[in-house]
Structures are given as C-alpha cells and as structure tokens.
Symmetry: C2
Subunit: 131 residues, 2 copies
DNA sequence: CCGCATCCTGAGCGATACTG
DNA sequence: CAGTATCGCTCAGGATGCGG
C-alpha cells in the first residue's frame, strides 16, 4: 500500500495526511478506549457495559458502539426476546486494537507512580522558581 | 500496588476509578499521540514539531508539550542562543508509551483498508434496509 | 431492556495579536 | 524562534424524556 505514511519512514511525513489519523482520532475520544477495553475482557450486553464503564452516559455509549460497529471493531447481536437483549462483542480487528489498548493500560497502571512523582516534582519546581 | 485496578483482574472494576484513566485521558486528546509519535522518532525543536505535526496550532502544541513535560514524558531543554533554541525529547517513560503508540499507529496503517471496507459495508447495509 | 431525539452547557481548540 | 494572552466558536458530551 502506498500511502504517504510508512511506519519506518519519517513520522514527520506520516503525520500529515495518513489513514492512521483516523484510528488515532478514534482514541481521541474520552470513552472508546474504555469500551474497547471492557469488551476485550468478554462480550457485554448494553446495560452491563454501561455499568462496567463507570461514568459513561447512555448517549455516549450508544454513540461509541455505533462508531465501533461501523468501523468493524465490534459486532452487535440482537436477540428477539422481550425485553430485548443486545450483545456486543469484539471482532477480530477489535481484539487486535484492544490488545494494544490493554498493553497501554497495563503500562499506565504499572507506571502511574512515576507519573505522579513527575507531576509533583514539576509542580514544586514551577511554584518556587527562585528558592 | 493495590488499586482497584489489576490488569488481569476484571476490567469492569478496573474501569471505575483507576490511575489508568489519567493516561487514557492523555490520549483522549487530538494531538498528544501525534506529538509523542513525532518525538519518538527523534528530538525536535519547537518549530520542527509544529511542522511535523501537520495542522496543530501553536497554542495546542505548547499546551500539549507542557502537559507531557509535567507528566514526565518529555524533557524541555533551552539553549540560551539568540534566537532561542528549545529542544524537546522523550524521556525513558515517554519512549515507553511512545512505543505502544507507534505499535498502534503501525497497526492502523496496516489495517486501514479493513476499516474502510467495514465502513462501506456498514453504510450500504444501513442505507438499503430492505432491498 | 435498549436506544433515539432534544436541549443546553462548557471544555477544547483555532485565530489573532503581542512579548523576549 | 519560542511563548503567552485573549476572544469566540464549535461540538463533545451530560441530562432528560419518549418509544419499541
């Protein structure tokens, strides 16, 4: 594939107008990563997901799921019961990105202390610029 | 460490109030991933960065760099020349997250076709619900 | 239970202008 | 060149209510 973006080519060029932006933008969303993460663990029903991803509004959940479905990351299965049962699961693609997301999250979980330290150091330094 | 979040524990719990959110929120930003990506390739000066990350405004670049610096992902080195020279580089932590980000970007670059296909399939299907 | 539609607020971000 | 400050808008996203 000959896009302007090659992963061992210059990122500088890469950053301009490359499909990657689309995917990155996907994550530039408060919730998608969390939703994907939840689904990475196991399929969820709508309500479960709502509870799992604490703080998400129903609107955002729906919206994110639609986008993810459209992009082929999750599947939406409706069981014609009453009341309706809808199950969301990751596709293979979804699982692939999901794994990266999980890696990232694991990292942040493991290294959060370092970040916290960096923050307080920085804050201290900027508060007393001249002893 | 005993947070409510354990990487092989339930994501459901994990998602509630866990440090990971902070890091994930970092990505929930239109630009940070791109900036980190650019710096992952090599250190950059401010202007270089601006040009590398196409479309970013000077304001957002500064803002992102400040946050990344505060969180300990990048270093900011000022050379007292005229005109001023400021170089930004990744810290080791920065490089670590950076690698994950690059993995993600490489993936999206490699798989974008699949996404595109998924999209058009989805769109076609929703446009003609009943043949 | 699932999800769409509407309204409304505020953070995010871009544009512009000004310092060192 | 690098950075700060201000203004104004757009739009993500929260709250609420209705419908299948």
């Amino acid at each position: 594939m000959e896009t302007s973006c090659d992963q061992d080519g210059p990122w500088d060029v890469y950053l301009k107008s490359c499909p990657c932006r689309d995917v990155l933008d996907l994550l530039a969303n408060k919730w998608t990563a969390l939703v994907l993460g939840a689904l990475a663990r196991r399929p969820h029903r709508f309500g479960e997901l709502r509870r799992a991803v604490d703080g998400i509004s129903q609107k955002m959940l729906t919206q994110n799921l639609r986008t993810l479905e459209r992009d082929g990351f999750v599947t939406r299965t409706v069981y014609p019961t009453t009341p309706p049962t809808v199950e969301y699961a990751l596709t293979e693609m979804g699982a692939e990105v999901g794994s990266h997301l999980i890696a990232l999250s694991s990292w942040s979980q493991a290294n959060f202390d370092r970040i916290r330290d960096a923050r307080s150091t920085y804050d201290d330094r900027t508060l007393e610029p001249v002893t």
